[in-house]
């Protein structure tokens, strides 16, 4: 299905990543946003608040992030595509409801414009310290999808992608921006609406008497209905059966939670996305994401100029992680170099899947700025030596 032209600002724009994210949500068909102000994400909801009244959208500034992160789920059951937007401290507050959305299979988008942490940390400055929280932040086991844009254009494109993936897999999708990407102003092309692919919500179409709210299709994803459709649905965060009723047994837990994990894991080949540059024949592969994937380029270029064989693998989808590709590369190269604005998060995944076969070097940074490319270059240079 194609995007609804109402609200799509086709053309070239000079806007920052936060504004581009808002435009992406509108193009994706999002018409419900609940949010709470927090730097450096606030511009997203400011633009939504400005744009929504005249395109039939509902924006509400809630009393806190906890309220925002569950208001969007009420809105989804009411039939809307919905999103909330935040940064570190707010993201921490939203964790319980990311779990609720995973457990009750609510398609929705959470945007986290990452800043320096922990706690209040560095509100106006960049960080990438929420990556593991994105994967494991809510209690219990569940599958999740997280995307990492590195430009305002990608903030637009990936917000649409986030909505599409959330509808396809009935899962909360996390758009893991960072302060640099959010506040960086660049050219953003908004295509004509008829060139924007939208994954429509999958509504139940079978006979009413056979309807079960959580009975999955072959791809492990159950179709949805809305409140008011006459199905007397029951939705609970408790462990539940296919009807949606609570069942406090090991068997019910095993069946449900396994599916929540498997619907992402078994579809990972379709979801995983990364971009490679000169990875074939490389001795060293730099694995990066978000703003750091741009900061790494001058370091890689310098090393290449000096004759080093350096490849670059950039994560588009951070979760699920491209484990197969890392495993494969670990048999071909000498080392991985992982720059990230934290003291080691995604590097653990690279280590885990390279399973001791090659060296894995972190180029850590506490946050507040991007790396100096020299620091990345130095680690590349040392790791080439072996």
């Amino acid at each position: 299905m194609k995007s609804d032209p109402k609200g799509v600002l086709t053309g070239a724009h000079f806007i920052d990543g936060d504004h581009a994210c808002a435009e992406g949500a509108i193009a994706a068909g999002c018409r419900f946003v609940a949010g709470y102000p927090i730097t450096p994400s606030t511009e997203v909801v400011e633009r939504i608040a400005d744009r929504f009244p005249l395109i039939g959208g509902m924006f509400i500034q809630m009393e806190d992030e906890i309220a925002s992160s569950i208001a969007i789920q009420g809105a989804v059951w009411g039939g809307k595509k919905a999103m909330t937007v935040t940064s570190g401290p707010g993201f921490s507050l939203m964790m319980e409801h990311i779990g609720l959305a995973a457990m009750t299979e609510v398609p929705c988008v959470f945007v986290d414009v990452q800043r320096g942490g922990p706690s209040t940390g560095l509100p106006t400055l960049p960080g990438q310290g929420d990556m593991m929280q994105a994967r494991w932040g809510s209690h219990g086991d569940y599958g999740i999808i997280a995307l990492c844009p590195n430009s305002p254009q990608e903030c637009f494109d990936f917000t649409i992608k986030a909505f599409n993936l959330s509808e396809q897999y009935r899962v909360p999708v996390l758009l893991m921006m960072d302060e640099c990407v959010g506040h960086m102003t660049e050219r953003v092309i908004v295509p004509p609406a008829d060139q924007i692919e939208i994954y429509p919500r999958r509504f139940y179409e079978g006979p009413k008497e056979e309807f079960l709210l959580f009975k999955p299709d072959n791809d492990m994803v159950p179709p949805m209905v809305k409140a008011g459709d006459g199905y007397n649905i029951h939705v609970t965060g408790l462990t539940h059966d296919e009807k949606g009723y609570p069942v406090m047994t090991v068997a019910a837990q095993e069946k449900l939670v396994h599916r929540l994990i498997d619907k992402i894991k078994m579809n990972a080949d379709k979801i995983v996305e990364y971009k490679e540059d000169q990875v074939e024949g490389a001795d060293v592969v730099v694995v990066s994401y978000g703003i750091t994937s741009r900061v790494a380029i001058p370091a890689i270029d310098q090393a290449r100029k000096e004759g080093m064989k350096v490849g670059h693998l950039r994560l588009i989808v951070a979760w699920p992680f491209p484990e197969k590709r890392i495993k494969e590369l670990a048999t071909k190269i000498k080392s991985f170099v992982v720059p990230e604005i934290n003291y080691g998060q995604m590097v653990h995944e690279v280590e885990r899947h390279s399973a001791g076969k090659v060296r894995v070097e972190l180029v850590g940074h506490g946050g507040g700025a991007v790396h100096n490319p020299k620091d990345i270059y130095n680690v590349i240079k040392n790791s080439v030596k072996g």
Binding site: F32, E63, G78, G79, A82, A227, G228, I233, H234
Partner: protein, 291 residues
Amino acid sequence: MSDELLDVDESMPTNTVEEFLRMERMPHIWCPGCGIGTTVNCFAHALETSGLDLRKVSVVSGIGCTGRVAGYLKLDSFHTTHGRAIPFATGLKLANPELKVVVYSGDGDLTAIGGNHFIHAARRNVDMTVILINNFIYGMTGGQVAPTTPLTATASTTPHGNFEEAFNLPYLAESCGAVYVARWTAYHVRHVTKAIKEALAKKGFSFVEILAPCPTLYSRRNKLGDGLDQMVYYKENSEVKNDIDTKTVSLSFQGKITVGKFVDKERPTYLDAMNEYYGKKFGDKYTPYKG
């Protein structure tokens, strides 16, 4: 149990509230003497005569004993997280204003962990009915002190008695902007039914507080007898004072209980205010939001 006891006498009249319940989920989890089931009965009767299209009624609960209400009602029902029924209901209502949205939850859920959402939904006048069952205690977790536990009452986390002032909930709701505020007890089944029916018919944030016995955790620990003894207490100590100033309706340990309809007024709902404001601001360019 012998099979005879399970035989259904076809000539017996059916309980009229059964059509509102998910009978396949019975028996419920509530203790003997608990007042929550009584209020559900009242709610079903209120729905029966409300004239509402039941397909368009959604019930949202939080967590706790009363939080289980959503799971027993044969309506679209949502059992959300602790304290967050109101913001979920806000999203649901604003996404589809055609729905009649009812929040049905307990005192701890709605006024401790969910207190912030309660006051803001009342302030915004989001169109929803909030039914709060006040049993003075956290029942599900074993009888801990709540923001509603009367002074001096014993709870598992106030084993020497409670010294914190309790909320006066009708006053809280009114001062935050609720358009309908009533308090009754599980003894007053007809009044409860009527109040719920009135609240459902009201546009805006309507609030019904219902005091209900928790014999297992509140009465037992405070040596107040069983559920029936609490009903006798409600019967003998309730004073109906409609329209009285809500400042005066605080509760005390085993003291007098002021019940009645305290507030019934009109105020634009969140959605009406938004549509009216944007209509003036943007003129013809604005299409009133209808979901």
